[in-house]
Amino acid sequence: EGGHGPYQPHEPGYGLDQPGYSPYEDEIPDAQARMLAIKNAKAYLLKTSTKSGLNLYDHFTTILTKILDEQPANTVDIIETISQDVKWAQFRKKMDTLRDEHLIPPTFEAAEKCKALFIKAAGEEEHEELDEEMGEPALPNVMETAFYFEQAGIGLSKDECYYIFLAFKNLISVQPIQTCRFWGKILGLEMNYIIAEVQLREGEEEEEEREEEEEETVAEEKEMGEGEEEEEQKEKEPEPPKSTYKPPPEIPKEANGTGTNKYVYFVCNEPGKPWVKLPPVTPAQIVCARQIKKFFTGRLDAPIVSFPPFPGNEANYLRAQIARISAGTHVSPTGFYQFPEDEEEEEGGDTYEENPEFEPPPVAEMVESLAMWAHHVKGILKQGRCVWINPTQKSEEDEEEGEEEEEEEEEEHQEETGQPLLTLISEDEGMKNIPAWTAQASTNLIPEYSIAILQSNRWPGAYAFASGRKFENIYFGWGHKYSPESHTPALPPPAEAEFPSEPGITEAADPTVEEELAFKAAQEEALAEAEEEEEEEGEDD
C-alpha cells in the first residue's frame, strides 16, 4: 500500500498510510474480516458454471500453469487465444467417454509399399546370371540421369528418383525386357503417371501379337454370327432404306516394333504400385489427340469426353500423347546415331545404330548451334503414322462384301512424306517469333564441367541434356503441346444435305377431276388408234 511514495510533513497526505490513520479506516475491516473477504472471492471464483461445468479458478490456474510452462513471447497479446485453447482441451477430455478408433492414415500404407520396393526378390541370383548372358544391363541408371538433369534444375526429388529406380528393377524382374528407359512423368488431376519406355525381347512380342490377333478375329466372328441372325429376322419385315454413307476406311496401325509403336510403354501411378502396359497406338487416336486438349485424371480407365470423340479411354489418350511427344522432342547429338551402312539408304528408313566413331563436340558448340542435335525418332505424318499407307488398298475381308460401289467412290489420297529420320533440329519450325528449342549451358561460372541443356518450346516440359558421350531425354509436364493461340475445339460438321430433288419426290398438285377425265379420254383415243393400226397391219398379212 503506500503506492504514492513518502509524503513530506507539509503535504496533505502525510501520515495517512500508517495503519489506523487512512481515510477509509472505517470501511476496511480488520484482518479476520479481510480473510473472510478473500475466502468469499475465492468461493465466487470456484463457482461452477451451469453451462460448461468449469469454474473460473481452475481455468485461471490452468492458463497460468500453461503460460509459465511454455513462456511464449508477448503473452498479453495472445491471452485470449490461450484461454480458448485451454477450454477446448478441457472439453475433449471430459465429454468423450468413447475412445476414437485408431485411424491408420494412408501414410503408413504407402510407406509399406515403398518399403516393399527395397526388399530383394527371391529369385535374385538367377536373374543376375541371366543378365550376364544377355550382355548389356537392362536397368537404366536413373540416378545418374537425375544428377545431370539436376544441374539444369530439372527433376524430381532424390527420394522419388530412388523409388523409381527400384520400381524399374521390379519391372525388369517381372517383364521380359531387353532395354528400358525412364521416359518421364506426366501430371494428372488426381494422380500422376510415371512412364517407362521399354523394348521387349523379340520372342515375347510375337506371342502377344498373336494373342491380340486371335482376340480380334474371335470378336469379328461373333459379330458376323450375330449379324446373320439379325438379317434372318429382318427379312420377314420390310426394311427401311439403308443409308449410303460409308465411313472412310480405317487406317491400320503400325506393327509393333516400327514407327509409332517402336517402343512399349509401362506406366504406374506411384513407385510401388503395379506397372500397367499401355496398348499400342492407332493412327486414328493420334489424329484425334491432335485436335483435343484434356487433362489426365490419373486413372487409366477414365473416359475421354470430347469432340471429336476420342476412340478410346485415358490409357489410349496417354499413349497417343506419349507418341507425339517422343516424335517431337527426342533428340541426340548429331552424329551419335547413323544409318547402318550395309542396307541401302531408303527415305523411309527406320533403323539406326550407334556410330562408334562419334566424337562429342564441346559443350559451347552444342549450346550455340542447334545443328549439333538431331531427332532420332521419326516424325508422325498427318495421317497418324510414321510410314504413309494408302488407305484404299483393300484387304481380303473388304472384297468379300460387295466392293463395286466402293471403287466408284475412291478418293485420291496424296502420299505424305515426312522428314527423314536423323534431321537436325535446327530445321524445326518455330511458332511466330519463338524458336522451337532453347539451348543453355547448365552453368556459366564453371564452364569446364557444364553440360548442354535443351528445352523444347513446342512441348513445354521436354528436356534433353548432353555431356560428352552421355545424353538423355526426359519429360516432366502435363502432356500438352504449346500453342500461342488459344485452343479452338473442332466445330461439328455441317448438317446432312437433303436428298437431291428428283421427279419422283417433288411435289405436284393432284390432277383435278376434269384433267383426269380428259387424260382418260385421251388414253382411250390412243388405244383405239393403236387397235386400228394393228387391224390394218393384220389385214395386210
Binding site: 492414415p105 501414410t107 504407402a110 487433362f295 524458336p435 518450346n457
Partner: protein, 277 residues
Amino acid sequence: MEALSLPAALSLVAGGGAGLSPELRAALGASLPLLERDYRFERVWFWGCIQGVRGAYYIAQGLGPDRAAPRSRLYSLNCLDWSLLTPATEEMLALAEEVKGRFQGDPSFEYSLAEINPKAAARLVQSGKEPVMKEEARLIATIEQIDRAVGIVPRGAFVKTPLGSVHENRHFEGLSLVEAKKLSSYFHFTEPTNLKNKTLLEKADLDPSTDFLNSLEHDIPQGKGSWSIQLEKGGSVVVLRSLLWLGLTFYHVPMTKQFGYVYFGTGEKNLDLPFML
C-alpha cells in the same frame, strides 16, 4: 516459400519436375539474407521463376510487419543481383492481358502494342508515350495477377489483429489430414471479394480473426475447380497445383507449420482450362 526453409521446401515441390540447380540454390542461400538486410524486410519469400525464351527471371518478395500489405517484389536473372520492381498499376494489368505469348527473357524487350491492340497504342500515343510495353512491366503485371489469382495459404495460418494488420498465427499447428484434402481449408492471400456475399448462416460459423480471406471453394470453374489436390508420399505432403496458371505449386505438410507456394512456369494463363477438364 520462406527463404529459410528453401532446401526442404524445394524437395517437396519437386513432384512437378521443376526445381533449381544446385548453383542457383547456393546463390539464393547467399543473396536472399542480404536482401533482407538491405531492404529491411521482415520476411523474404522466394516466389519462383518465370521461364523466358532466352533466359529466366527469378522473383523474390519481401514482406513488412503487415503481411497483407502490398509486397515489394524483386527480380534477378542469376539469383545474385536483385532489382526492385515498381508496384503494379491497373493500367499495366490491363495492357498485360492483351500481350500474349512467351516472355523473351530480356527485361528491356519491348512488345509493340500497335500490332496487338491498336486502341491502347493510340491512347498511349495521345498521352505522349510510345506505344510499346516493356517486358519488365509485363513481368510486374503477371506476378501481380498470379499472386492475386492463385497465391494461397492454409486456413488459420494468418490472423487479423483488431488493428487490421495481418500476422502469422503462432498457434497454427497445421491442418489435419481430413481438412487438408478440402478446398475450403485454403485461402487466397489477397483482398477478399466475396466475404460479404455469404449468407448469415455461413457467416455465423466464421471466425473473423482467421476467416478474413476468400476460400478456394468458389474458384471458377466450380465443381472440379481449377485446382488439383494430391497427397504425395502417401499423405505426408499435400500438394495443390493450379490448373489456371500451370506451374504454381503449393505444398503443406499436415499437422506441421510447413507450407508455401512457388511458381515455376512460363508466365502464361491457361485460357483453355474449360476445354481441358
